[in-house]
């Protein structure tokens, strides 16, 4: 999704009174699945639009977003570590680290 489509979706969700969070990759080092600035919307029902990296780290982002929507109403700055060597612990193996800002809009 382009940035324009993401913000259109935000406007649409707000018009429909559906609570959501916007997640944006704000910083990244090493190899990451998506670039700085990539965005994803997470809705109160758990549905997602856009992507901050496919499987890599998206579960953590989704949990943070739901925590924010359902309880804290506060933004979070998440560090996502993708350096699990061979994925032996079921982790992500892209090799880098990224920091994602999750905020209610």
């Amino acid at each position: 999704m382009t940035d324009q489509e993401i913000f259109q979706k935000c406007a649409e969700l707000r018009d429909r009174d559906i609570p959501f969070c916007l997640a944006t990759i704000a910083e990244a080092v090493g190899s990451t699945p998506r670039e700085i600035g990539a965005k994803m919307i997470i809705c109160a029902d758990g549905s997602m639009h856009g992507s901050v990296g496919g499987g890599c780290g998206e579960n953590q982002v989704r949990s943070a977003a739901l925590r924010c929507i359902l309880t804290t109403k506060k933004p979070e700055f998440l560090e996502i570590d993708l350096t699990d060597d061979l994925g032996t612990r079921g982790g992500d193996v892209c090799g880098g680290k990224m920091w994602i800002f999750v905020e209610p809009l």
Binding site: T24, A26, E27, I36
Partner: protein, 255 residues
């Protein structure tokens, strides 16, 4: 400031701007999530509440815009902000709806361009050939005269003949564009550009035309040629004209 509405409006207008978001803050006066918009002319909407900090944010935002580089910066002790560079959707206008236009429109759409295809032959400029694209079957000059252009408009000229290439370019080069590329053999593009020069299009403007079009990846088939053109479009969108020229020069030729 209604950020969603304002950002949406700026993107729709095709503007490029910096959206600054506080992501970490130890200062209760500057809460995380706070946003400021900085436009390319340096004007600001929102702000941190401190004139001194605002001027720092403005300078950093203008630098991010200049370098097309997004990332976080510590703007004061314990306060980190994300500088996001946002641009309206790039629009690609394809003049000529022949065999290369089909994969070109398809690939360009997939990498995020909003695509318009124009040809004066209605069987070629037919919506069934270009799913997801705006398709215009109309005389080239008539259609181009009324078409809106912006600094986010990319134009690829691949008509069926050099007369049509020339008439399209004569219109397009009078408008604001992000990129103009012309397909054809070295001889054909030279001929078209010289003709336009004689018709009064300024030399500097003609030199901005990427001709022959496309990055040098050894493309032969229509799909490969389309790929080489889209690769060039992405280079210009993500980097700049200089990078596009450098990549061609490095390989010593076109496509």
């Amino acid at each position: 400031m209604d950020v969603i509405a304002r950002v949406g409006e700026l993107l729709k207008r095709g503007e490029t701007f910096c959206l600054v978001t506080v992501v970490v803050s130890a200062n209760p006066d500057i809460p995380a999530g706070g946003k400021t918009i900085v436009l390319t002319d340096g004007s600001m909407e929102g702000g941190t509440g401190s004139a001194q900090l605002d001027s720092k944010v403005r300078a950093l935002a203008l630098k991010a815009l200049e370098e097309k580089k997004r990332g976080t910066v510590e703007i004061e002790d314990g306060v980190r902000a994300f500088f996001d560079v946002l641009s309206g959707e790039a629009k690609l206008l394809v003049c000529g709806a022949g065999h290369i236009a089909i994969p070109l429109a398809d690939f360009a759409r997939k990498v995020g361009f909003r695509v318009t295809v124009l040809d004066d032959r209605s069987d070629f400029a037919h919506p069934s050939r270009f799913p997801g694209c705006e398709v215009i079957a109309e005389d080239f000059i008539v259609a181009l005269r009324d078409m809106p252009f912006s600094p986010s408009t990319y134009v690829v000229v691949i008509t069926r003949g050099h007369e049509h290439d020339a008439e399209c370019l004569a219109e397009v080069l009078r408008k604001e564009t992000a990129y103009v590329g012309l397909i054809g053999s070295r001889r054909r593009v030279q001929f078209v550009l010289e003709m336009l020069g004689r018709e009064g299009i300024p030399q500097e403007r003609l030199e901005e035309v990427f001709a022959p079009i496309g990055l040098p990846i050894g493309a032969e088939s229509p799909e490969e040629i389309a790929l080489s053109i889209v690769a060039e479009l992405v280079t210009i969108r993500r980097k700049d004209h200089a990078q596009g020229r450098a990549l061609r020069a490095a390989a010593g030729g076109s496509r």
